[in-house]
Each structure stands twice: as structure tokens, then as C-alpha cells.
């Protein structure tokens, strides 16, 4: 161990007025004294020894142990939370009318899935999410790349884009309902609009800031505009686009739920809101948990696709 190894030769007198007197907190102050900086101090010469710690002497074992610990914690903490919740609800520490126990939620969930109700709501909602997401994202990528690649288009359109971006998207839902009636189309459109801006703005920024040296290489091979896009601008912008897609995936679920609260005859958002109106907290919880789990899976899928698209990047 590094501290012990160095301790014998290195007197830690940092911050004391009496360099000769051994300080009581010897062992505790020591690591700072031996830190990479090696603070200067009064007194004679000393030797600072750097030695391998436990981590270096058996790196593989250390790594595996570390990995098991991380995975274990990732599972143990949610389990503990649920156990605590279960206990509190059953003993009456939490009012079971508002905080029904997880075991009761489980039986409600099983009933909802078996009757096909939940399956129907999930399919309805996530079809909307996918339709809105892809509409918005595809439009944003095409427009974003075109605007990002052209100085003139940027000057012309950026003020308009930022102007529209500043409008809270949920605030225009009533307007969309007015235009398109109480159908599901306004919800899909709202998801599309939200995803559109979330992807458009980073795409423009990313495409327009791809390094000049990369552009020059393509230019020196007489690349045309489309070749420039294909070989340089789009791959160069991809890391930022991928981040934007992840944000848009999360936002698409959020907007779906909010939209269905307002304009709802079916779907998960409607289901949660309706359960509240019927005072069915168990169903509400099940709805919320289903949305969070599926929303997380959806963002993870988008993230995985993004990782694949930018697999050339070295992650630290």
C-alpha cells in the first residue's frame, strides 16, 4: 500500500507550526502531503515514495470485483427502496390509500395485463411516440444538415428557428386541437414538433462546426456538395446528433403522456389521468411505472443505435 510504503521516510508536517512535533493526525494528513503536487514545506530533505497500490498489483481481480460491486449496487438499491416501500405501506407508516404496497401493485398490474387493457394502452401510446419521433427527427435531420451546410440558409433561417423554439410546445396543443379536432393526430404532431426542434438545433450547430481541416481534405479531392455531406459533414456531426436523438427519445415519451392527459380517449397518459379521476391509485402507479420502464428501454435503444453510429469514437 502506498501510504505505508512512504510513511517511514516522509514526515507529514504540513500546516503545523511545530515541524518537529509529530502531529496526532499523522496518518490522516499524510495522503495530502504525498499527493501528486508534493507540497513544499519547511525542514530538511525528504523522500516521497510512489508505490503500486492494491489496484495495480492485481488489476484484473480488482476490476472484476469493482464491476460486481457496481452491478450489485445497481440492483440492491432499487430492491431496498421497494422493500422499504412495502414495509412502510403494510405497517401503515405510509397511508396505503395513497401509497399502495408494491405487492398490491403487482397483482393490479397482472390483472391489467391479463385483461389486455394495458397491452392496448401501451401499443396505442408507443405507436404515437414512434410516429411522432420519426416524423420530427427525419424532418430535422434533412433540414438541419441542409441549413448547417449553407451559410446563407443559416443566416436566413436561424432567427425564425430560434423564434419558434422559444414557444413552449405544450402551449400550442389547444391550437392543434382546434385545427385537427380531438383526434390523436395533434398528439403525434406535438411529439414531432418537440423532437424536430430538439434535433434540428444541435444538427445545424454540429454540421456548421465540423473542423475546417476535414473539409479541406475533401475539397482537395474535388468533392462536390453531396460528397462533402456524405464523407465529411454528416459523420463529423454525428456525435452531437446522437446526443440530440437521445434527448428527443426522452422528450417524445414526456410529450406523449402530457398530450394524452389533455386529448385522451386511450393511451398510457389517458390511463394514468383517468385512474386519478376514478380514484384508482394502484392503477395510476402501475401506469406510471409502465411508462417509466418502457420510456427507459426506448431511450436505451436509441442510445445503443447512437453508440453504433459513433463506434469510431473512443470513450473514456
Amino acid at each position: 500500500m502506498a501510504p505505508e510504503g512512504a510513511k517511514a521516510v516522509d514526515r507529514p508536517d504540513v500546516g503545523t507550526d511545530r515541524p518537529a512535533a509529530p502531529s496526532p493526525s499523522d496518518g490522516l494528513t499524510f495522503p495530502t502531503a504525498a499527493g501528486p503536487g508534493g507540497a513544499g514545506r519547511a525542514g530538511g530533505p525528504s523522500i516521497v515514495t510512489r508505490q503500486p497500490g492494491a489496484q495495480e498489483s492485481d488489476p484484473r481481480r480488482y476490476r472484476n470485483r469493482r464491476r460486481r460491486l457496481e452491478v450489485g449496487l445497481g440492483i440492491a438499491i432499487p430492491v431496498l427502496l421497494f422493500a422499504g416501500w412495502q414495509w412502510a405501506s403494510k405497517t401503515g407508516a405510509l397511508d396505503p390509500r395513497f401509497f399502495p404496497a408494491p405487492s398490491d401493485l403487482w397483482s393490479t398490474a397482472v390483472r391489467l395485463f391479463q385483461s389486455g387493457v394495458m397491452g392496448h394502452e401501451i401499443v396505442t401510446s408507443f405507436r404515437r411516440v414512434f410516429e411522432g419521433f420519426f416524423m420530427g427527427v427525419i424532418a430535422a435531420l434533412i433540414l438541419g444538415v441542409a441549413i448547417g451546410a449553407s451559410h446563407i440558409a443559416r443566416s436566413a433561417l436561424q432567427p425564425v428557428i430560434y423564434g419558434f423554439w422559444a414557444i413552449p410546445k405544450l402551449a400550442i396543443l389547444p391550437l392543434l386541437l382546434l385545427f385537427f379536432g380531438l383526434s390523436e393526430f395533434p398528439i403525434i404532431l406535438l411529439i414531432a414538433i418537440e423532437c424536430f426542434f430538439l434535433v434540428l438545433i444541435p444538427t445545424i450547430a454540429a454540421v456548421s462546426t465540423v473542423s475546417e481541416s476535414y473539409r479541406e481534405v475533401a475539397t482537395s479531392f474535388n468533392a462536390g456538395r453531396l460528397q462533402m455531406l456524405r464523407y465529411v459533414l454528416i459523420p463529423g456531426a454525428m456525435p452531437l446528433i446522437v446526443v440530440a436523438l437521445r434527448l428527443a427519445a426522452g422528450a417524445s415519451v414526456l410529450v406523449m403522456v402530457a398530450g394524452e392527459y389533455i386529448d385522451g380517449k386511450e393511451g398510457l397518459g389517458f390511463f394514468i389521468f383517468n385512474s386519478w379521476q376514478l380514484f384508482e391509485p394502484k392503477q395510476m402507479y402501475v401506469g406510471i411505472i409502465v411508462v417509466s420502464i418502457l420510456g427507459t428501454i426506448w431511450t436505451l435503444v436509441v442510445q445503443a443505435v447512437g453508440r453504433y453510429l459513433t463506434r469510431w469514437q473512443r470513450e473514456t
Binding site: E216, T219, S220, P235, W312
Partner: protein, 276 residues
């Protein structure tokens, strides 16, 4: 100072500059970066260009490469075989695409600039990977390579399109001294095989002399040609040239020509800093 605007050229002219100028304008002012500049580069000549930083060396190269248009004057370049790629550039650093593997990087110019069949492209890529010792890392991404390997990729990429003229913009500037010598040696051997016209920008006099048939010395603000110096050493050369007394003498003479430019440049940039 030598009155070396027009220089003796080995062989026929390949590239000629006539009264070439380049001005950069921003919101506040116009800065003349280059010229007026007259220069003739011969067929098959390896021309080295040295000068203080900011003297417009890179601008000169970009003008030849067609990356920048001149603001005044004209540059004539002989394109012998219009079916062949005219110029290819090797850039300083950060020009190898991180999202493409080594082999894909080398193939990039072929993808963009040619309609060769896939097999022919791959054969050429294999050839240049082999020539530059990159075969083992063909499928690696550049992020996993050292700076020297990345510069090799850059050189292979330029040569893969078989350009009539090779333009090199301080290609070894970011490499350590040992690696730089190694790559200079490799470049000399590659060049001996086909002796294509090369314009090589560098800030290292030593490098300019080892590689070049002729060294052009540029002065700063705006960049003009101060002197042109024929390198007297026979080809083929190798790096043992560095050990000879004549080599030291030549480097010393070029340094004397260049020193005044560097001092002037330094004084001017100080003055400018003080006036801000």
C-alpha cells in the same frame, strides 16, 4: 538580400505564379497575407518552402491546391494527363478522419475523385498501406494510432489517387524529432520511385534541405519570396547527408537569409501587440 524573385528552374515549368496576391478580410480590416509573388516550379521538382510563422506558406499551398482562390494575379498549372488527379494534399495534423478506419481513410480520395471499380480501389489501397507500413492497422480507427501512424495514413491517402503534383503542408511538424527523421527518409525513398512534382512547406530548414531540390525562403507580412536557394546535393539522398560539413554550411547560409525575416516578424508582432 538576394533579389531572387525569379529562380532558375530544373527542367520545364510545371507551376507558375504571376503577381499572385491573397487578401483576407474580416469585419474590421483587410490583411494582405501573400504577394505580390512570382514563382516558377519545375517539372518533377521537389520544392521546399521555409519562412517565419504567419508568412503565408500555407496560403501559397492552398492557392496551388485550389482550396483558396487568389485575390489577384494568376497561377498556371500544367495538367499533363487530364484523366489523372492533378493535386493531392498532405495536411499538418487532424486531417485523418476519426470515423473511418485506416483503410477507409486511404480509400477516401479514390471514393470521392474516381470511378474506379471496387477491386481496383482496394488493390491501390492495399499497395499504399503496404508501402507505408500500415497493413497491420488497416482496420483500426485513427483514435487508436500514434501521431506518426496517422501522418502515414495522410500521406497514403494523398498518394492513393496518384496525383501529378503532391502538396505537403508541414506534414511532420507535430511529430517528435526521431519519428520525423524516419518519415523524411521514407518520403525520400517514395519520391525517388516516381519523382513527381512536390511542394513541401516546412518551418525546419534542416528538413527543407534534406528533402528539396530547391529551398524558397519567404518573408512575412505580406508573404513574398526573399530568396531561392538551389540545394547542391546529388540524388538519391539519404539521411546520412545530415552528417556532412557541406550540409551544415548550406543550412547555415539559409538560416542567415531567414534570420532577418524572423527578427522582423517578431518585432512587428510585438509592435502590433503593444498597439492593441
Amino acid at each position: 538580400m538576394l533579389n531572387g524573385h525569379v529562380s532558375e528552374v530544373t527542367g520545364r515549368p510545371r507551376i507558375s505564379f504571376e503577381g499572385v496576391e491573397r487578401v483576407f478580410a474580416d469585419r474590421h480590416r483587410e490583411v494582405k497575407a501573400l504577394g505580390p509573388l512570382d514563382l516558377t516550379i519545375g517539372e518533377g521538382e521537389f520544392l521546399s518552402v521555409v519562412g517565419p510563422s504567419g508568412c503565408g506558406k500555407s496560403t501559397l499551398l492552398r492557392l496551388v491546391g485550389g482550396l483558396l482562390p487568389p485575390s489577384a494575379g494568376r497561377i498556371d498549372i500544367v495538367h499533363r494527363d487530364p484523366a489523372r488527379h492533378l493535386v493531392a494534399m498532405v495536411f499538418q495534423d487532424h486531417s485523418v478522419f476519426p470515423w473511418r478506419t485506416v483503410a477507409e481513410n486511404v480509400q477516401m480520395g479514390l471514393d470521392i475523385a474516381t470511378d474506379l471499380p471496387k477491386a481496383e480501389k482496394e488493390a491501390r489501397v492495399r499497395h499504399w498501406l503496404d508501402r507505408l507500413g500500415l497493413t497491420d492497422v488497416a482496420d483500426a480507427h485513427p483514435a487508436t494510432l500514434s501521431g506518426g501512424m496517422r501522418q502515414r495514413v495522410s500521406i497514403a491517402r494523398a498518394l492513393a489517387v496518384d496525383p501529378e503534383i503532391l502538396l505537403m503542408d508541414e506534414p511532420f511538424a507535430s511529430l517528435d524529432a526521431q519519428l520525423r527523421m524516419l518519415l523524411q527518409d521514407e518520403l525520400l525513398r517514395l519520391w525517388e520511385e516516381d519523382r513527381r512534382t512536390v511542394v513541401f512547406i516546412t518551418h525546419s530548414i534542416d528538413e527543407a534541405v534534406v528533402l528539396g531540390d530547391r529551398v524558397v525562403i519567404m518573408g512575412a507580412r505580406p508573404g513574398t519570396i526573399k530568396a531561392s536557394f538551389e540545394v547542391p546535393f546529388a540524388r538519391p539522398r539519404d539521411l546520412s547527408l545530415r552528417g556532412s560539413a557541406e550540409f551544415g554550411e548550406v543550412v547555415q547560409r539559409i538560416w542567415e537569409l531567414l534570420r532577418q525575416e524572423v527578427i522582423t516578424e517578431l518585432a512587428e508582432s510585438r509592435q502590433e501587440a503593444a498597439s492593441h
